[in-house]
């Protein structure tokens, strides 16, 4: 058994832990949040998939960006995202974060969310049904398995670019960079 395989084997239980306990940040960013309460309550019960809302970003590893993101919310989203411990996964809900959606010509909403924080998966719909959320979770499992849900790594790698875009929209950020920017 070579070294790589050994590492992989040793890491497997940790990965399983990440996969099956996706704790979502309790943050209603947009209108897509309306389908989250049904998913986490009796009818659909997201807990069967290990998905639970969590009060604080410090204890969460899944960030559901539910729908459109206004400029003011973007600041809160970045703050929240940066507070989450790694590994962390993000899922964009519905049309709006993908390409502006209904608010494609609004002066106050973000058009492409992946230009500000990395996104691991997108769900189509306006809004996505609870079923789609569950299927998205299973897709996310596969991505985690294959090490493809690497948004947090991309964030680290391209932090300077992300930070530049964030600063451009928000006119300066009132917190220090998460990673040393010089490293880039």
């Amino acid at each position: 058994m070579d070294r790589n395989q050994l590492v992989k084997w040793l890491k497997a239980p940790a990965k399983m832990g990440h996969k099956y306990s996706l704790h979502a940040v309790y943050f209603c960013t947009g209108c897509g949040i309306i389908e989250v309460p049904p998913s986490i309550t009796a009818r659909w019960d997201a807990e069967r998939f290990g998905v639970l809302p969590t009060a604080t970003p410090r204890q969460a590893n899944l960030f559901l960006i539910t729908g459109y993101v206004s400029v003011k919310t973007l600041r809160a989203i970045i703050r929240t995202y940066e507070q989450m411990p790694e590994p962390k996964y993000t899922v964009g809900f519905g049309s709006c974060p993908i390409n502006g959606g209904m608010y494609w010509d609004s002066y106050n909403t973000i058009k492409h969310l992946d230009r500000y924080i990395p996104i691991d998966g997108w769900i189509a719909g306006c809004m996505p049904r609870p079923e789609a959320i569950f299927v998205a979770v299973t897709h996310l499992w596969t991505l985690i398995d294959k090490d493809m849900a690497d948004g947090y790594k991309r964030y680290r790698k391209h932090y300077a670019a992300y930070r530049a875009n964030q600063e451009k929209v928000l006119r300066g950020l009132d917190w220090p960079p998460l990673f040393p920017v010089e490293e880039q």
Binding site: V71, K72, R75, S106, Y107, N108, R115, H158, V169
Partner: protein, 172 residues
């Protein structure tokens, strides 16, 4: 609509234009200086429910039109006002110098409306305690709800200028 109200409105104030577009509606066009006194007159007549304060940008005429929609809760014993009737009070102010007296002293819920109009249209309300930003995070050269603010152009210029990040990594 109560005939007596219309009569007493026109006899109390001059320079009012009163119209009855519908049976249950009254439109009053007042000069800027008279707005507060008309509002307080109407409130005294039982029209104690301020629905909203709105603003319309008549750019070509160089004016903003402030719109106050009033109706009655219908709880006062002395008033003959019917809650099913609305009064739309309008006043025009110049676009270059858009100031008007705040109506908070009469209606407390005018506060956020006026704050919003200040932010989105750039109208100043004299006597308003906090004309701080309400909704917006960014500053805009022209207040965004004015007609000369082209949001499509703005989106194209501003959001279009933000580059994608790590393009080569996207399709792993």
């Amino acid at each position: 609509m109560d005939r007596a109200l219309i009569d007493s409105l026109s006899s109390t104030f001059d320079a009012l234009r009163v119209e009855v577009p519908r049976e249950d509606r009254l439109t009053v066009q007042a000069p800027r200086d008279a707005v507060m006194s008309v509002l307080s007159f109407l409130k005294g007549r039982g029209y104690d429910h301020l629905h909203m304060v709105s603003c319309v940008d008549w750019m070509e005429e160089g004016q903003f039109e402030l719109v106050y929609v009033l109706s009655a809760y219908g709880t006062g014993q002395d008033s003959a006002s019917n809650p099913g009737e609305e009064i739309i009070l309008k006043t025009r102010i110049p676009r270059e110098l858009p100031t008007v007296v705040s109506s908070i002293s009469l209606f407390k819920n005018a506060e956020p409306y006026e704050r919003e109009i200040h932010e989105l249209f750039g109208v100043r309300f004299e006597g308003h305690p906090r004309l701080t930003p309400l909704f917006l995070e960014r500053d805009y050269e022209i207040p965004p709800f004015r007609k000369d603010f082209d949001t499509r152009q703005y989106v194209e210029d501003f959001f279009g200028s933000i580059p994608p990040v790590g393009e080569e990594d996207q399709d792993v």
